[in-house]
């Protein structure tokens, strides 16, 4: 009798444990969370985005289709405050972020459910571990510097468009921008610029244009190099000297002022 009770108990325990740890139920839970996120994202989308991008994200004359742009594009555009756009114009600039990260994730979940696209990178993909800063510099000068300037200080494009300054941009957002090509920036997909390449570029930017980057001489004038610095010295340095000389000579030292 005692043996039977022990057996039953053991069976019940095993069954209970199985029910708790079963992979199927976990997947189900994840799926539920995911579909919940999609539902929440759809609600946010209908309120904040559908007027330009269409009720199903199919795009209208005011905004492009979001089918297949992926969660990385949503995380970049909404996470840097570019979306929702304030007004039409040459370029949508970055501004104060409107949504919380949780809401951005829900929006991203909804948009990525419309069609497969690049997903939000993980910290391992954009983090500094294993990055080669020198190689990143080479890659940056080949692929990015033509618009963003040698150390990522940004530059002008046509008709009021511009390549923004990259100082203070989160590594995740830089990664997403390279992957998705927001607005007029071309994309640099993993097939032509590997994940390691992107990581190197981010490490380079952090080294030359990060929050704690030292500028040994100070006042680097946009990192444009010796030409702009020399011109500044000639115009403003010599100009100041001439102004001082004129001022000294113009002031009379005589006792009787004329």
């Amino acid at each position: 009798m005692a043996a039977l009770v022990v057996l039953l108990l053991a069976l019940a325990c095993t069954g209970g444990l199985y029910a708790v740890f079963a992979p199927a139920s976990k997947a189900q839970a994840d799926e539920t969370a995911q579909s919940l996120a999609i539902d929440e994202g759809k609600k946010l989308f209908s309120v904040g985005c559908a007027s330009c991008h269409g009720t199903g994200g199919q795009g209208t004359s005011d905004g492009p289709s979001l089918v297949g742009v992926g969660s990385a594009a949503v995380d970049f555009q909404v996470g840097t405050g570019r979306m929702p756009a304030q007004q039409p114009g040459a370029q949508v600039p970055k501004k104060k972020v409107i949504y919380t990260q949780a809401e951005i994730d829900q929006l991203a979940a909804y948009v990525s459910s419309l069609g497969a696209g690049p997903s939000v990178p993980t910290k391992a993909e954009y983090g500094p571990d294993g990055a080669d800063i020198a190689k990143g510099g080479e890659l940056f000068r080949t692929n990015c510097a033509q618009c963003h300037n040698f150390v990522g200080k940004g530059g002008a494009l046509t008709h009021g468009k511009f390549a923004p300054d990259l100082s203070g941009v989160a590594p995740k957002h830089i990664y997403e921008a390279m992957q998705t090509g927001p607005q007029n920036m071309p994309s640099f997909p993993d097939t032509t610029m590997t994940q390691q390449n992107k990581k190197d570029i981010i490490a380079y930017l952090n080294a030359v244009n990060g929050d704690n980057t030292e500028s040994p001489g100070g006042l680097e004038l946009g990192g444009l190099g010796p030409v702009s610095e020399g011109l500044f010295a000639w115009i403003f340095g010599l100009g100041a000297l001439i102004a001082v000389a004129v001022w000294v000579a113009a002031r009379t030292a005589k006792a009787k002022k004329s």
Binding site: T158, T192, V248, A253, K256
Partner: protein, 355 residues
């Protein structure tokens, strides 16, 4: 300070008359129609009149020189004391090297204080009495001229140049030939480039190698809206002639939707919307790859020439004279992008013989 500057003797009211150098020196007459007004009456400075003001100026000058001394001591001290890799934050300059900042500040202050002290000294304490100094005649006196001419004749006679014709003629020969070596060096400006400006490394069957990965590009790697740079297969960065060759062969690859390509030849020379264009601006040869993926415009950063990649890279703005040359591409049987020949026209800026 001269005795003239003693304040009691030089009060403006007392001295206005009696100094001949002030006031009119000559008057106009028939021979000289212009009167020489001479120097205006001399005006004194506070420091000339008031000894206390002079003392004050003296102290200011001495203080400036002392500041300079202290700054120099500060320069030496910062050189010794501040480690060369220390970084500090200075508003509004940002994170800068502490040693550079300290050295620049002290050195600048030391020099500035010397200059400011000297200027203040000269303006307030040194004599500012106007002095007229007549120019001496430019012509030499007759006896000096006669001496020089005599010396020259003597020298010419002693060199015997007129008598020893062999020396004279060979000297003329040597002097006449010598400049030829300079003329000869102009040959180094050549030789003419020949057909080098018309050909690049691209030829039929050469694979397009991605410069990021150094691997050949597949057509499926290139996404719509992406930008990739390619070099010809076989050209390595370690090659001796890499710079010369990549300067002509550099390629930018973008993919458009085939229905967005307006130019028929561009569509024919593309592969499923993948187009390969020379990266060298046709104006003065700047690398040009400021590609806007929504407008398909490429902007040159040097002089703002703008090319429309969806319409045969025709010039839509700026000083460039030619469309960007397009490279005809296709895929080989393994799916890799390959060139179907060289560029049909010279890449880069125009030149005289280009026609």
């Amino acid at each position: 300070m001269s005795s003239q500057d003693i304040p009691e003797e030089n009060l403006p009211a007392e001295h206005s008359a009696g100094h001949n150098e002030h006031g009119a020196v000559t008057v106009a007459d028939d021979k000289n129609p212009f009167a020489d007004p001479g120097l205006p009456p001399h005006e004194h400075r506070v420091q000339d009149i008031d000894e206390r003001a002079a003392k004050r100026s003296e102290r200011v000058v001495a203080m400036l020189f002392t500041v300079s001394m202290l700054a120099t001591v500060g320069f030496i001290a910062s050189y010794v004391a501040i480690p060369h890799d220390k970084s500090i934050f200075v508003f509004p300059i940002g994170h800068i090297n502490a040693l550079n900042f300290a050295l620049g500040l002290t050195l600048g202050l030391a020099l500035f204080a010397i200059g400011a002290g000297a200027v203040h000294w000269a303006r307030t304490l040194m004599s500012d009495e106007e002095i007229a100094d007549e120019r001496h005649p430019i012509e030499a006196p007759p006896e000096v001229k006669a001496k020089v001419m005599a010396d020259f004749k003597q020298g010419a006679k002693e060199s015997a140049l007129g008598r020893r014709k062999l020396i004279r003629n060979t000297m003329f020969g040597a002097l006449a030939l010598f400049p030829l070596s300079g003329v000869m060096l102009l040959r180094d400006l050549g030789p003419l480039p020949g057909t080098k400006l018309r050909h690049t490394l691209w030829s039929k069957g050469k694979l397009l190698v991605n410069v990021n990965t150094n691997e050949p590009l597949r057509a499926s790697d290139v996404a719509v809206g992406s930008l990739t740079f390619a070099k010809p297969e076989g050209l390595e960065e370690t090659d001796e002639n890499f710079q010369t060759e990549i300067a002509k062969a550099a390629l930018m690859i973008v993919r458009l939707q085939p229905e967005n390509i307006k130019d028929k030849q561009e569509l024919d020379w593309s592969y499923q919307g993948i187009v390969a264009y020379s990266k060298i601006c046709t104006h003065v040869g700047c690398p040009i790859s400021l590609y806007e993926q929504q407008t398909h415009h490429v902007l040159c950063p040097c002089h703002q020439s703008t090319f429309d990649l969806s319409d045969g890279a025709r010039v839509i703005f700026g000083p460039a004279g030619h469309a960007l040359p397009q490279l005809r591409i296709g895929v080989n049987d393994q799916g890799y992008l390959e060139a179907l020949g060289d560029f049909e026209e010279p890449v880069g800026p125009a030149f005289w013989e280009r026609g």
